[in-house]
């Protein structure tokens, strides 16, 4: 049974300033959800709460399989992942970075190598796999972040502003990567962006975050 995400009237404020107000949403079908909004409107906060990095002040984030609400344990956390705008690459090779998620799950040997090679190939970084990851450009770093997330085959993938600090060429490459994932329709992908044109290009469902409220377009 596929994994679904239900967000029930969550609110969050930072030092008295309300960032999210009573937001409710359901993510239940494979495809690309794009959450659009100006900078500083709380998109990233929403994503961090959904990906269980932070708790909301009120409301609930529930992951469901069938009709069962799942416990938020490491088992569930390992079925979802979030790629941050600042990817946080480890000071080692591109390959080892991409392999991190699988290694901590105890996967090694040929399966590891094949899956990493295919993930790196998917984002066009296979030829750089032996290079130190800290030498990558910001666009390549973002692509590696996506490959690292894809390698663990998440059922729900969150991408927070994947093209925010990336040049035009890499933006195009990253959009292509997302469109390819969309075609495969294997998982729920939730992306934030402040770029309306990009949102239109990528989304199956377009959501707008404005003044703390989420509305569907």
């Amino acid at each position: 049974m596929g994994l679904r995400l239900d967000v029930l009237s969550i609110s969050k404020s930072y030092s008295g300033k309300a960032v999210l107000k009573d937001c409710s949403l359901s993510f239940d079908k494979a495809g690309v959800y794009v959450l659009m909004g100006q900078n500083g409107t709380g998109k990233s906060t929403f994503l961090r709460i959904c990906s269980l990095l932070e708790n909301p002040d009120s409301g609930e984030v529930n992951y469901l399989s069938g009709d069962n609400i799942l416990i938020k344990d490491i088992g569930l956390r390992r079925r979802i992942t979030l790629v941050l705008p600042k990817v946080g690459l480890f000071n080692t090779t591109v390959f080892n970075n991409a392999a991190y998620g699988m290694k901590i799950r105890g996967i090694k040997g040929r399966e590891l190598k094949e899956r990493i090679d295919s993930a790196l190939n998917f984002v066009g970084l296979l030829h750089k796999k032996s290079q130190n990851a800290l030498t990558l450009s910001s666009g390549e770093a973002q692509r590696l972040g996506i490959a690292r997330a894809l390698a663990i085959e998440p059922e729900i993938l969150f991408l927070d502003e994947p093209t925010a600090s990336v040049d035009e060429e890499n933006t195009r490459i990253i959009e292509d990567i997302i469109l390819n994932m969309k075609k495969e329709r294997r998982s729920i992908i939730i992306i934030t962006t402040h770029d309306g044109v990009q949102a239109g290009r990528l989304s199956d469902r377009l959501l707008l975050l404005d003044k703390g409220w989420i509305v569907e377009r």
């Binding site: 956390r77 600042k86 800290l134």
Partner: protein
């Protein structure tokens, strides 16, 4: 006279004089053992201080920073008092043995290892911690990822501690007693031979000590160069 002394010093080095070799070997043994013990205690301590929320952490860290500059003679005096017959550890009979020297140097090395490793660990970009968390790491795996990321900083901390204990003379002179063939190391020999006006051996050891400290600093530089600190913030 100086040139003559240098000539003799080099001939001592190149003839692999057994007395000289013994002294060098003991220096490395004592400082190496002290460094090993200090790292074995200091590294986990630094990791706990850097990664866990514990009470009075700030005070402990400041204390360790202060102890980085402990005067070796004071440490020597302290260890001497502990190990002397009337001291609380006197029954062990360790005074004037290499073990006493190792204890003194461990005390000198420990705050350096803890302070520098702690600062290496806390300077790791917070996005590293978040990345490993989002990729499904357990709390322990997250700690491992952060420590791994600070490895060059940790190495330079340990090497800095080695530099400190290798060059130190006050503490080991007091607790080791500078006994020929038993507790005599490079620095204490230099002090003694200079006093005696016997410069050849002192210079020979001085050259070796300088070479060692040059090597240590080259390693230090190498590690510091590889240490990449990324600044990271939310959004």
């Amino acid at each position: 006279m100086l040139i003559e002394a240098f000539k003799k010093a080099f001939s001592l080095i190149f003839s692999l004089d057994p007395e000289l070799l013994g002294i060098i070997f003991l220096s490395f043994k004592v400082s190496g053992a002290a460094l090993l013990i200090a790292s074995a205690i200091g590294l986990p301590l630094a990791a706990i201080l850097g990664l866990k929320k514990i009470p009075a952490k700030g005070i402990f860290v400041s204390l360790m920073n202060t102890f980085m500059g402990l005067p070796p003679v004071v440490v020597g005096l302290f260890v001497y008092m502990m190990l002397s017959r009337s001291g609380s550890l006197g029954f062990m009979g360790l005074l004037y043995t290499p073990s006493a020297m190792i204890i003194a140097q461990t005390i000198l090395a420990l705050p350096i290892v803890v302070s520098l490793c702690h600062s290496a660990i806390i300077s790791v970009d917070r996005n590293i911690r978040l990345a490993s968390q989002t990729l499904g790491a357990t709390p322990f795996q997250i700690s491992v990822a952060v420590i791994k990321e600070s490895r060059y900083g940790i190495m330079s901390g340990i090497i800095a501690a080695l530099g400190r204990v290798m060059a130190e003379v006050g503490a080991i002179l007091i607790v080791g007693g500078n006994i020929a063939g038993y507790t005599r190391v490079m620095t204490t020999t230099i002090a003694l031979e200079t006093d005696k006006g016997n410069f050849e051996l002192a210079i020979a050891l001085g050259i070796i000590l300088l070479t060692v400290s040059l090597c240590i600093n080259m390693f230090l530089h190498l590690f510091q160069k590889r240490e990449v600190v990324q600044a990271g913030l939310w959004d």
